[in-house]
Symmetry: D2
Subunit: 319 residues, 4 copies
């Protein structure tokens, strides 16, 4: 990854297919990489939250990352999540990711451990200086239980610690403040961090984020409909906001699949990941819709709801 230009475009957080035993299904994973690349995505993010990184052992993470890197074979950059509690543990994952051939790393602030903003800054500075690959900050308060402040991200962007931000905070106001702090939508190339890449993880407001100046998007739903997100991205880049909004609204409808699972019987996160995986199974990409332990599996009625969403979105033929 060149450091002179920010990463731009659609960078799906790759879902990890599993066998019913819980082992990684590398055949489905390789097929999924082709599914995504053939849709024209601009990069891949392996071992993110949608990839169930939190549920994979170190050995499984390694299998996933090597499979993705090998399948991609240099066609697009591969970002690797290095999700763990603190600096020393993240550094261990960083070394493994570097050896597996990742192009960049994506790291959250510390979690489980409670840290001060100055300690979070130290965390990123240590990672930046020792990880040996471009570093993206992963802002995901729903998991980390804290938000990276605009000031901190700007500081770490300006001093070169960070190559970019993956913003899954859903806080579009803060993202806007960051864009403006870095020079504004049109001025960033001449601003203090011209190569810094801002990627939103908010898959329901991609038209808005790109309009506001984000460089790209990391949409979980992009596993299921990568071509839709590429069309959405291209429409914004072409200045056709009407088409972009139309595409975004179709994707919002499709996103409804995340609530397929019964609310009183399973988590919203396992419902969403299960829906994406079963959708990929229905689309012929994954062999199984299995999610990792201890998540509860979607039942048949829930899977049927996933199928309906796919048909309504035109991804499966109507019955």
């Amino acid at each position: 990854m060149s450091s002179s230009q920010p990463l731009r475009g659609v960078v799906p957080p790759v879902c990890t297919p599993l066998h019913p035993s819980g082992d990684v299904d590398t055949v489905s994973l390789a097929r999924h990489v082709e599914h995504l690349l053939s849709a024209g995505v601009h990069g891949l993010f392996a071992l993110g939250s949608s990839g169930e990184a939190a549920f994979l052992t170190d050995r499984q993470r390694d299998v996933v990352l090597r499979t993705v890197v090998d399948s991609v074979a240099g066609r697009v950059p591969v970002l690797a999540g290095v999700i763990d509690m603190t600096t020393p543990r993240v550094l261990a994952h960083a070394e493994a990711a570097r050896e597996a051939g990742a192009d960049a790393l994506v790291a959250t602030a510390p979690f489980y451990a409670r840290t001060h903003p100055r300690e979070i800054a130290r965390h990123y500075r240590t990672l930046g200086s020792r990880a040996g690959l471009p570093l993206y900050a992963y802002d995901i308060p729903v998991s980390v239980h804290g938000k990276l402040s605009v000031d901190l991200v700007r500081e770490l962007a300006e001093d070169g610690t960070l190559a970019g931000l993956k913003d899954s905070s859903g806080d579009e106001g803060s993202l806007r403040r960051l864009v403006v702090a870095l020079g504004g939508r049109h001025g960033r190339a001449a601003g203090p961090a011209p190569s810094f890449s801002i990627l939103t993880g908010s898959e329901l407001t991609v038209d808005c984020a790109l309009l506001a100046g984000a460089d790209g998007v990391v949409p979980g739903l992009g596993n299921v409909d990568p071509a839709g997100y590429v069309r959405l991205h291209d429409a914004v880049r072409a200045g056709d906001l009407d088409r972009a909004v139309g595409e975004q609204e179709r994707l919002v409808e499709l996103f409804g699949m995340v609530d397929a699972g019964p609310e009183d019987a399973m988590g919203r996160s396992s419902s969403a990941i299960g829906a994406f995986k079963h959708a990929l199974r229905l689309l012929g990409v994954f062999a199984h819709g299995t999610t990792a332990d201890p998540q509860i599996q979607l039942d048949d009625a829930s899977v049927a709801r996933v199928g309906e969403r796919l048909r309504a979105a035109g991804l499966l033929p109507a019955r």
Copy 2:
């Protein structure tokens, strides 16, 4: 307010000028109403969070609302906040607001008391049937410590309980899901709640919210620069997104005034409200920048920072 068309446009949440004694400064308030109306705003929201409703006694609330209603004299609709903990207390405020001449009411979910979603639905249904004025739900998790779900708002929109939503959640993904659930940006007029008005309180992403299908905006910063928000709104309506984004970025810079106060000595909320009020003083609208008890007042250095923001935004002449 006609119920056949949703309220649209810029609806500032009116700041409440106070004398240093803490009494409402009705002269400044009347002047502020002219300041806002002459900028072309489409409605006013009195007694909201920016209006320090939480800090005003019932008697003061009455003075504020009557002053606003009298000053507006029917030129635009006046929405009145009825901010209190539970249904019986909100109903008491609703009666007062109706007598003072408000055109519509804006009510949060219960707070302090802990309530179940079904109890929140009851709350709005009781208010809707007994308050005697069109009812807006005020979704403000930062104060209420809960978020109104898309499903609940849709249900209350479709059954006619709610005339609209004032969304201060900052959750643009949920707002998008609501727009789509009600028929989509272009389809809402033919959808299940054609007259339902969606107003965003996210003053930093107004271009996006309007693009996504929101009907209007309730910007706290609109107290300071109402003309800027009207220009932003008009640019989106005219389809000139480039101009809209430029205007929005200027307003994001101006918004930086909210951090004028020292972080270790006062709250971020009192810093923001103090900044708005001192800006209005510097602009000649308010006689004082005083905020209500127990908020700490901005010191001189902080006020100087507010002035710098005004000058940078072109609202005060450069020195």
Copy 3:
């Protein structure tokens, strides 16, 4: 209330009986005061959270407080909750409570409005100097969404702002730090705030709190079984911890009534308050078990579960 001695003992937060119409049932309320006083309680706390203060209009609060004060007729001190969002609104309630004859006031930190610790200190200092009655801080994070720090309470105790603390935080470690900071269990009378009264609202660990040095308890469940709490208190004071623990365990069992209502259909708070009120109805004290709007009422099966708890605790004859 003398300021030379801390308030000690059992001070139930008085539940407010309502007619099915929602009006205050003053006859039941007067009967309830007798029910409590005849059990030997040492004070009453009217208009607290268990008293549904958040649900009562100002007029209803006045009726409640006057009824309690009149019924008590000076036999024990009456503390009055002045629950509202900020200083000016709390001061208005304080004036009403003073006129109604309350002996002391109980005020939370600001809520809905977001305030800095220095602003919370200002809040209490203003109340303390202007309210005209001894002031208790009410630490109830579940409603206010912030905790009063040990340092702040100590500071306000030592400078005489506060007469006491009603600690409903459930944070026994902080309560312990406060006791030690004020001189320790045996040293408080000679410490920096000898007349400061520490009352715990944690009705399930009263034996512990009194052992640790708390002066008294404000138990919601004390509405239902005031004699049990008096026995528990007396046992600790007599140094009979074994008896105290036995009594506490019986009360923990009885407390299980708070989960009488179905979890998927109503809030835990309305279930608890409804259980207390129906228990009082079954005991012949209240005419109705009605809770205020918008709370959902306990259904018959839930009320039956309340009755079972009363029988198991020996408060109703076995069937």
Copy 4:
């Protein structure tokens, strides 16, 4: 560990000494084990939060656990934390801990990943059936951001999934409900889970927890003053509550060291862990007070405050 009797007594969560390089200082660790055992503690908990498990690599965790197990040499049981995000990752740590010779495992609910209560139950059941050692649930909401419910713990205690609970929630009311649900203080031996061990992590209210029926305590401060906690425990067991409270108050004073570090410059967690480690250095047990990355180190003034607390508590000679 026999499964017929619950683990009882003082079980310190062993702090992990580090060299300034960040490597584990096994010499100091072995010395610390002797420091703790010679004070009469009843077990050790390695790799807990106080042991900085979140900051140690897998390799470091292994070094720590093997050093502790070897040093203990069977004199007391060694519980090993297996702190990680989800079931598959915890199982990997469990295997390592078993091989290293741990006597029991201590596992939190999933974190980072968001899970439903039914998924948390699955997590513990899978661990219980596959980990091959007695399993303790670690309830630590400050890190995991969720609380284990009384009903869930009871269910897992009664079906034999769990050997015990390490309760660091600070919620003494829930702990009391659990004790009562399992038969009460005196009735637990004849209750549904007679060998289930309840250990509190609330080091400031140990007298209360033991009085209420807890079996033991896991006090972070017990690293610094294990003899104090053993005296406290013995006093309660001997029925001498007055002596217990006196000892507890002394320990509360000593605990004040956790705030040694400046609040605006480092986290409260790194301040506390740094204080414990520097106290152990001042006591001659640790060679260094170093905490792991990215925590900020205590400065000299802060370390001086730690020393003052040790002198005040009689653990260091007065100057």
